[in-house]
Amino acid sequence: MDCNEAQQYAGDAIDRSLPNGIGKEFQAHLEKCKPCRREVALENLSKHMVRQNIQQIPTPRSIQTFILSSLRLEYDQKKPDSASWLTGFLPFQVALPALAGGIVAVAFFLIVSSRTDPSYKMTAHTASNDIINLSFANFALMQSGKMQPAMVTAAPESVGDFFQKSNLQFGVHIPKLKTCEWCGGSASECSGVKQAHLLYKAGKELIYVFEVSDDDALYGTQVSLPLAAKRALTQSGWYTDPDHPDCNVILWKTDEAVCVAVSTMKKAQLLALLTTQ
């Protein structure tokens, strides 16, 4: 075996094993050839240093949560493809006529039926007492300065004390957002519904958080939520509103509250901040 061949087999000698005959020749060559012996030793050293100094680490819990939340938001937003699930049940030649027939049948049913399904558009939130609309409107007021927090602090714990004294009758969730310079709080009541308002400053971005008790949000009549949001909050605890092109609206549920965050920050960044507290 010459040096070129030995170099070709070096990797296999280090990482796997060489077939018997070749292995013996390889070892015999190394015993005679100091440069090749040294080069194999250096390659082995390289592997050893990487292994010794760079270990595999488990995915941090915050990132696991972030990934799961992202997937569940994706599940909620993905509209089922009426063709694909049908072709899963039926062969293609049957699926298309069956789908067409189904559409005709549904149209006939709707025409002759006197029932209407008020929740047909599940993500619509046109009601004036819709929480998402209220949050969006408040965010605009905060941005323009027409609405301001009653108190501002660099310590989120102080905001917690403020809300305790405000007697809102539900546990206000105080997100501890990394990279935020200050946060502010206000409390209010409208039509018997107690509300908490938080404002965070993160670099150039503002994040507004609106909170009401989960009973009011999910079961009450004074404030409303789209059906899709109620379902998502009940099932996964998270919901992203799809209807705002110029800012992101993310909802989540805690033990006692439904929280709505509004910001012009990128969705992934906002989600990361909210899930890594």
Binding site: R16, K34, R38, L45, V50, P58, E74
Partner: protein
Amino acid sequence: MIPVLQAVVSRSTKKKHTEFEAEALPHMDVLYNFALRTTGNEDDARDLLQETYLKAYRFWDKYEKGTNIRAWLFRIMKNSYINRYRKETKEPDKVDYDDIENFYNTIRAESTDSNDLQEQLYGNLLGDEVTKALQSLPDDFRTVVILCDIEGLTYEEIAEFVECPIGTVRSRLHRGRKLLQAKLFEYAKQQGMIKGD
């Protein structure tokens, strides 16, 4: 949508979610580590991991059941990295392979034959330098070094992950380790750790 159709769609969609999570999520650690070693920071690794899992879910119907799902997920991650991050970050300086050969010729020419090469060459070179050296490798070489030396994959598995012949895996591994050694030698020299010459 009328209630009966809605119930059928719901069951089938739920099944898809459960199946996807059961098959794809157990590989998160391997993917995260690769993302971290490739992007070099936790925030980008997190974003790359998120993009990978979202794409994997969206294309779940394209995955062939029973085939190597880890390799499939890895290819999605690799392509996402190439499409998004490689364009945004500066490419590492082009490697002049002649310099590496010169380094190796210097090392090979030494007359002493020491068992303790690490002590001789690198002294107390820190883990950060090793991470930096790995980060500085060209993507193709870094990928195979990570998959072999950190993740412990076989040559066959690596070939499947990166979609190239085993011979190419061997060659990239060999050259990647040589480059790594040259980088470490450079760092050790800069820090005055090289004993003798």
